[in-house]
């Protein structure tokens, strides 16, 4: 009953979204503001409706309604309450509903602002946003109904939207339960974070399309969606980092990123999104790179949809794959339609996207940002090719191949190195004109300092060339960024007479985008330190120990003390837990307790590592079930991951940096001067 009600609500929402699309188009073409307003109101209606549908689903999840197929698939009686609620996005159908709910929320937020100066954008923003929403709701309604119920018919038990003629409602005693791998706190936030990022990118895309259609291709659409782009980027970045952290904590292979196709599918929009974030600054300041910005936002949106498609259609094989379903063809049609219309529109408006100023120097800031775009696009090409190559190989040669980490690491390392170099050079470059001399004068001090640091590392830490180059670049970027910060604070100190701390605070406060950005750059370099550490210097070993035996790796000795096995029947888990003593160079450090959790309902294991984390390294121990744990001994796999905690530290600082960059400015946003004059020292807005 309730499930049918939920489906009914979804069906209504689908038609409301469709109506909104057509009403907006009709109102715009016939110049009927009332129709456009009707479309806007219809669009506002979708969020309450979807909230209702979502609440119905959550109600069903929490109250063990196993006759509903989705509830059966993702929950079980032994799961705690919070997991039952978050199971909303634990499966295909529910996650699509979650996506639609977010889409409705964001579009409603956008349409609640004042539209006085941008009336012509409104109908097209509604069209694009509601068309996307209608697509996702349509997938729920026609292919992946979260409210489908199980009926027993002559042919057996199957899920149906509407009761079949000879069907009897079938209610299983217990649900299958969520895959134990997904029952970790990190896994609970990771999908919503990613979806927040993906869905938020639809808004700038909608405005870009509106700009192309209406011909208002100046930077108005960028300014209107600047916050959206930044927050979308934040959520996407954080979703990726959370995924990495979860993989590290729970998946049991001592790593955080496997270059799996689904990971890459989420990474690709991040690449274009980051390029977009930087490139729009150039359009706002100098009216250049307009073509790039249009292309980048179209690519970001296309990659978001394409990525969602790849992970759910079964076209690619991946550990992340959702079960294959019938949504593939519909998704494909939507992607085809989106790509074709976007490309057609940008070609149509190509000439109106002309730059307002020319680039005068290869080393000017505009030129460096152009290189930045090129590097990000290059990494994107590498990733995209790596993802699509197995498909091409199988289609044209019949041979199944795997494109794994060696390819990606080899191909992208120099490109990432190039990006880091730019991170160091660009803040010191000048708008307009820059020669090797002027740039060199600004750069030589941090470069020499970074070189000195690298030499010290050569003698104290490592002689590996790749690592040394990496550390040099990290040091270079951090030094340049701190130098920029210090210069600004020093200038303030001199002119305003503030002390150092107040100077820093006010500097950041008055120029949040720039200094928030610098904090983000520094945080990324901290993350780079972590990545360099674990990728280049990881040590591992594996061995079977009898109780009392010791295994050593690096400076650590681990002694197997004891093992215990017990059931937690209410939770449906069987625990096997081993305890080891840890010594470093003879000194006792403590104990580690890796375990294997066996979940009865899904018959799957989770290997939880014992970890000892310091800034210097992580000692990471897994209880491996190569051999059954018993009197004959236990098998352990031990990793030493140097510097890996800089990765997580960096991600916290990253969060702070984005919050600062996105915080609303105190001063009102000034209307940009229309005609841009090539006078570098006048900045046109408060945000530099």
């Amino acid at each position: 009953m309730i499930a049918n009600f939920g489906f009914g609500v979804l069906l209504i929402t689908f038609f409301v979204a469709l109506y909104s699309v057509f009403a907006a188009i009709y109102g715009e073409r016939r110049q009927l503001p009332s129709m456009v307003e009707s479309a806007r109101r219809a669009m506002l209606l979708t969020w309450p409706l979807l909230t209702l549908a979502s609440l119905v689903l959550i109600y069903l999840l929490v109250n063990n309604h196993y006759e509903v197929q989705f509830v059966y698939e993702v929950t079980s009686r032994s799961m705690p309450m919070y997991l039952k609620i978050t199971a909303w996005w634990g499966g295909q159908a529910g996650s699509l509903l979650f996506w639609s709910w977010l889409m409705a929320a964001f579009t409603s937020l956008v349409t609640l602002r004042k539209w006085d100066r941008d009336r012509e954008f409104l109908p097209w923003v509604i069209v694009v946003a509601c068309a996307t929403m209608a697509f996702f709701i349509g997938m729920n309604v026609f292919f992946e109904n979260p409210f489908a119920q199980l009926y027993q018919t002559f042919q057996g038990v199957s899920a149906y939207t509407l009761k079949p003629a000879d069907g009897i409602l079938f209610t299983p005693e217990d649900g299958r339960g969520l895959n134990p791998l997904l029952r970790h706190p990190g896994m609970i936030i990771h999908p919503p974070m990613l979806y927040l990022g993906f869905v938020a990118y639809v808004i700038p895309y909608a405005f870009a399309m509106a700009a192309l259609i209406t011909g208002r291709t100046d930077d108005r659409w960028i300014r209107l969606t600047r916050r959206w782009s930044l927050w979308a980027w934040l959520f996407l970045s954080f979703g990726l980092v959370l995924g990495g952290r979860w993989a590290y904590d729970v998946l049991g292979w001592g790593g955080y990123w496997g270059w799996d196709p689904v990971e890459i599918a989420a990474f690709m929009p991040w690449l274009t999104g980051t390029a977009f974030l930087h490139s729009v600054m150039i359009q706002e300041k100098r009216g250049m790179l307009k073509h790039w910005n249009m292309l980048l936002i179209i690519l970001t949106y296309a990659l978001v949809i394409f990525g969602t498609f790849l992970t759910r259609s079964g076209v690619l094989s991946s550990v992340h794959s959702f079960a294959q379903s019938a949504i593939g063809p519909l998704f494909f049609a939507f992607i085809g339609f989106t790509l074709i219309t976007s490309v057609a529109l940008i070609i149509y408006r190509w000439s109106s996207l002309k730059s307002e100023t020319e680039m005068t120097s290869v080393l000017s800031r505009e030129a460096l940002f152009l290189f930045n775009n090129l590097l990000f696009m290059s990494i994107l090409v590498v990733c995209f090719w790596g993802v699509i190559f197995p498909l091409i190989s199988e289609l044209f040669t019949g041979q199944k191949v795997t494109v794994g980490p060696p390819f990606y690491e080899r191909a992208t390392s120099p490109l990432f190195g190039g990006l880091m170099l730019l991170m160091g050079i660009a803040p010191l470059s000048a708008w307009g004109h820059s020669t090797v001399k002027t740039l060199g004068r600004a750069l030589w001090k941090p470069a020499i300092a970074a070189l000195l640091i690298t030499v010290v590392l050569f003698f104290t830490y490592t002689q590996r060339v790749g690592a040394l180059i990496g550390f040099f670049l990290v040091a270079f970027v951090i030094l340049v960024t701190i130098y920029e910060y210090w210069r600004g604070a020093y200038a303030r100190q001199r002119s305003q007479g503030e002390n150092v701390l107040t100077a820093f605070w006010n500097l950041t406060g008055r120029n949040r985008r720039r200094y928030g950005g610098y904090i983000i750059h520094i945080s990324m370099m901290l993350m780079a330190i972590g990545i360099l550490g674990i990728e280049m210097f990881q040590m591992e070993t594996q061995g079977t120990l009898q109780q009392g035996q010791t295994i050593s790796l690096g400076n650590y000795e681990l002694t197997y003390r004891e093992v215990a096995q017990w059931d937690d029947l209410p939770s449906g888990v069987n625990y096997r837990r081993a305890v080891l003593d840890v010594h470093e160079d003879g000194e006792y450090l403590g104990q580690l307790a890796p375990r294997i959790d066996y979940y009865y309902d899904s018959q799957q294991n989770m290997t939880i590592p014992g970890q000892r984390s310091t800034m210097r390294d992580d000692l990471y121990v897994l209880l491996v079930d190569w051999e059954p744990v018993g009197a004959s001994g236990a098998t352990f796999k031990i990793y030493i991951n140097p510097l890996v905690n800089w990765l997580w530290l960096g991600s916290f600082l990253f969060l702070a940096g984005v919050v600062i960059a996105a915080w609303p400015e105190k001063e009102a946003e000034r209307v940009p001067v229309k005609a841009r004059v090539r006078v570098p020292q006048k900045q046109t807005s408060a945000a530099d």
Partner: protein, 190 residues
């Protein structure tokens, strides 16, 4: 992407560039469409003529002393191709029935049972074969070529090919009784 420094002529995108862009886009969509179609395809279906394939056999499980079997040499016989693996628990349910059926049909000379070991290790495969006393020809699916041809979705799966090389029936999952096997073979040898 490249602009002239003289502001006056507002160029659009040159035709040849447009052609390249559209060709690339259509090509990409075509590849994705093909991939999608392939992902949606099921196994090989009845009615299709099965191409020749070569199965190299485990030593001790040869047919007439030959260590390799070519499907096209088997025209005139009903061929029952069973995909299995030693790590596949459901396969064990039907192993005894398959062997029993083989002992029934082998004397007629009209039927041949072939076991194709999918992605397995030889020592464990031999243990499995010995455990169920399997005597019909068995061999590994080298480079998964045969299973890829049949587009199997898992193991066990059994394919019944008639005397003309046409696929007649696909059994996905284990047989629950020997009658099921007989029910597929008997009509073909009449």
């Amino acid at each position: 992407m490249t602009e002239t420094s003289i502001p006056a002529p507002r160029r659009g995108v040159p035709i040849w560039v447009q052609i390249i862009i559209w060709v690339f886009l259509v090509g990409l969509l075509a590849i994705v469409a093909m991939g999608l179609q392939r992902a949606q395809q099921g196994t090989v279906q009845p009615g299709q003529v099965i191409d020749n394939f070569t199965l190299s056999l485990f030593s001790g499980y040869e047919m007439d002393g030959k260590s390799e079997i070519h499907l096209e040499d088997l025209r005139g016989k009903v061929v029952v191709i069973n995909f299995w693996a030693s790590w596949c628990k459901p396969c064990e349910q039907e192993a005894a029935e398959l062997q029993q059926a083989w002992t029934e049909y082998e004397p007629t000379g009209q039927v041949l049972f072939l076991g194709v070991d999918y992605v397995d290790t030889e020592p464990e495969a031999r243990v499995y074969l010995k455990k169920f006393g399997i005597t019909y020809p068995n061999g590994p699916d080298l480079a998964t070529r045969i299973s890829q041809y049949f587009r199997i979705k898992g193991v066990p799966e059994t394919y019944f090919v008639d005397q003309d090389g046409v696929l007649q029936y696909v059994q996905v999952g284990p047989f629950t009784s020997i009658d099921q096997i007989r029910a597929q073979i008997d009509p073909l040898i009449k």
